[in-house]
Symmetry: C2
Amino acid sequence: MIAVLCGGVGAARFLGALSHVVDPSDTVGIVNTADDTVLHGLAICPDLDTVTYTLANAIDPDRGWGLSDESWRAMEALQRYADVRPQRSVAAPTWFNLGDRDLATHFYRTARLGEGATLSEVTAEICAAWQVRQRLVPMSDQRVSTVVTLADGGDVSFQEYFVKLHHGVPVTAVRFVGASEATLAPGVEGILKSAECIVIAPSNPIVSIGPIRALAEVDPILAARRSSVVAISPIIGGAALKGPADRMLNELGHESSVVGVARLYSPVAATLVIDPVDAHLAPAVEDAGMRAVITPSVMSSPEIGAELARVSLLAASVQ
Amino acid sequence: MIAVLCGGVGAARFLGALSHVVDPSDTVGIVNTADDTVLHGLAICPDLDTVTYTLANAIDPDRGWGLSDESWRAMEALQRYADVRPQRSVAAPTWFNLGDRDLATHFYRTARLGEGATLSEVTAEICAAWQVRQRLVPMSDQRVSTVVTLADGGDVSFQEYFVKLHHGVPVTAVRFVGASEATLAPGVEGILKSAECIVIAPSNPIVSIGPIRALAEVDPILAARRSSVVAISPIIGGAALKGPADRMLNELGHESSVVGVARLYSPVAATLVIDPVDAHLAPAVEDAGMRAVITPSVMSSPEIGAELARVSLLAASVQ
């Protein structure tokens, strides 16, 4: 069994690529839930949904989130209320788009959680509904919330930073509220211990992988089996393919490069997969304590994705 | 000021008709909330929404509920989850249709209630959003829930009876859970006491007007000013224009006729407006203790509606 630590888009693509190399039913994605939020009373799990919809071939390929063939009638109708809400109210938020078809997922999740089901249980049911062959588990059944401190003062939720502010403002700190009390979802500790190898997907090291690592059990388990843990750098040529990982790394005092990523991951992973554009940094990655494996890591075609998956698994097993 | 005790469709049409006779800003609709339910985590108030949408000229005229120009993409997408939910779960209910545009109303209401606003406050905001000129207030800010006991055993919520079972099964009892602890919404007692007259709209006497009357303060206030309270019979020629009022009356031991209605309302209202088809029952209505006023009460045109409103107000003021 292969375990993959996952954020959203990058992880979703990697899990898809992995299915060309190993039986998908033998793959477990352990997905960040610290981006989760409640809007309109609905339980929203952006990373879980991005991974699920991607693996179901239902994702909108251009946006990278939400469903294809989507409509936005509920959101359009919400504007009427945003225009009249009292000044102190944040009801009728129109900055977070929820497609009409996508809403069904949040309806189901909210209703099931209200019935007492755990997020793990609901996630398995949603995966079944979409006939996802991989197993997906939330990192925790308890609530963990990423809080971002902005350079100009004030704390915002991750979604406010990421969506409302278009991740366009500098940040000075990130913390994961609830992480110290939360535990891994049922079965995840066993998965992390017994998996043949663990892949850290090409996701944001701070806000996607960071919350998973913030759970007390995770880093010690990974460190104890470090040689079979491989990370894929989400930073290529100094930049993130998508999202604010590069800026966040800089703003929080890291280096936006494969070397900066290696410094973050070297306590828990022996190998870092880097793109050929970063080949010249391989010695610096090794100095940071990780073996560098060089292979194309922009998954621009199924073939490149499959090769990236193959090389990653090989890197984790040859140590 | 005119106060109108309201259920859904019949009351909505009557309030609309009333606006041709008196300044709508001088009208207060006190609306049944015992049909309210929570679905998908969303706070749904069917009667309030029917009245609001009707007065905003936004109601779907054929269905009589929900918005015109509506789409059903979220509901369609929900079926996927209904197909996989565990056997004991009632998540992803597809029997209660919520249109995509209509969802915005439930989103806003749910978010505002979550922020601590009262249902009265949210209702006023929703009315403002739709530029409804009448004032609408929920009967109570506390939760009251109609529970219907079916003849073949078992209790169901009002919406399960009305929508899921298409009000097609016999009932043996109706009760309003929470009514004895609930109080009238703020201001409603004053409205009931100071209104020039009170109209009981042509709504279901059992499940629409019944819950309002089940609140401790209501019947004594109405009884004390009985001569200026006028009811419009929702039963015409022995049948309800819409909904199960006729069958419910029979099943619960009343008579499905203007006489049965008069027996229910005579303690609190002096006058019953009945349609010419029931003119022969006027003496029996009077025997039941209510003055019978005969005027066309099927609001099939704005003119007939306006005349019904005019006659009703006149009946309440001439006593």
